[in-house]
């Protein structure tokens, strides 16, 4: 153990570990998300809808604890007015 040398301290994830998707149940959603990333030069802000879909798929197949999407940071994707678009960074 080093005294005084800066070292990284890993922290556990907030909601624990994702169970493995052994049967590839959400693989299509992942593929859609990855395709979106590739088409948008890996800009996460443009693919949030796809990431929301992927996480919803996980929740539907018991691969993730069900949570309201606001708690996962998708509040802006759930706003009622359908004309609201995400502003590009």
């Amino acid at each position: 153990m080093n005294f005084g040398s800066k070292s990284f301290k890993p922290r556990p994830p907030d909601k624990g570990s994702f169970p493995l998707d052994h049967f590839g149940e959400c693989k299509t959603f992942k593929e859609t998300f990855m395709r979106c990333l590739r088409e948008n030069s890996f800009d996460n802000s443009k693919c949030r809808l796809q990431s929301k879909d992927y996480l919803e798929c996980r929740m539907d197949h018991q691969l993730m604890a069900r949570e309201p999407l606001q708690k996962l940071g998708f509040k802006d994707l759930m706003d009622p007015p359908p004309s609201q678009e995400e502003s590009t960074p």
Partner: protein
């Protein structure tokens, strides 16, 4: 002559007592220094936790933050992904994207892939690292695949997601002003009996 020797004797005694006192003080100071250097370790850790220096976790953030946080759209950060396996584990483990552009305050999803090319099931367990270390305190994982044993059956391949966000306070930290790339590294080990990994909450000091 006798007077001289008496005076010198009492002077000697004086010197001896003075020397003894000085030596006692020096010895006490020495012991004090050694004690301080041992106490410094837990004290430093406490100080780091309170001020968040050196990448240690600053008192747990609450999950309401995820709901309430506002993305800092002007501050684009490149997150690059790295995957490693320890020599003993035969998985093929790699990231599915080399980089992703995120902004603080916005949740992001990224994928790794792991394949077990062997004929027997292998159980792996992973830990992660964030570089630069100081940015690590702002890197929050909501959910990932680390720190718990993951079992891959023979010839099985799975997608492994990481769901994370960068704390919006990252943009307010002057020390982070020049940081525009953060690298996330995962390393997989084979889970064996009695193996010690640098896992959080696992005391190995």
């Amino acid at each position: 002559m006798r007077r001289h020797s008496r005076k010198s004797r009492s002077q000697e005694e004086e010197w001896r007592t003075r020397n003894k006192t000085v030596l006692t003080y020096i010895a006490a100071a020495g012991v004090g220094m050694i004690g301080l250097s041992y106490a410094a370790v837990p004290l430093y850790r406490l100080y780091c936790q309170a001020t968040g220096l050196g990448g240690t976790a600053v008192a747990g953030h609450d999950t309401d933050q995820v709901e309430m946080m506002k993305p800092v759209k002007e501050r684009v950060i490149k997150v690059t992904f790295n995957a490693d396996t320890h020599a003993s584990i035969q998985w093929n483990f790699r990231p599915q994207q080399t980089e992703i552009y995120v902004v603080p305050g916005e949740t992001a999803l990224a994928f790794y892939r792991a394949k077990n090319p062997t004929d027997k099931p292998i159980i792996g367990i992973s830990t992660y690292n964030v570089v630069p270390f100081d940015a690590g305190q702002y890197f929050n994982k909501i959910q990932c695949f680390c720190f718990e044993e993951q079992r891959l059956n023979p010839h099985e391949e799975v997608d492994m997601p990481v769901f994370f966000y960068i704390d919006p306070e990252f943009d307010d930290d002057p020390r982070m002003a020049r940081v525009d790339t953060i690298t996330l590294s995962y390393t997989f080990f084979e889970a064996k009996e009695g193996q010690q990994l640098p896992l959080p909450g696992y005391s190995y000091n």
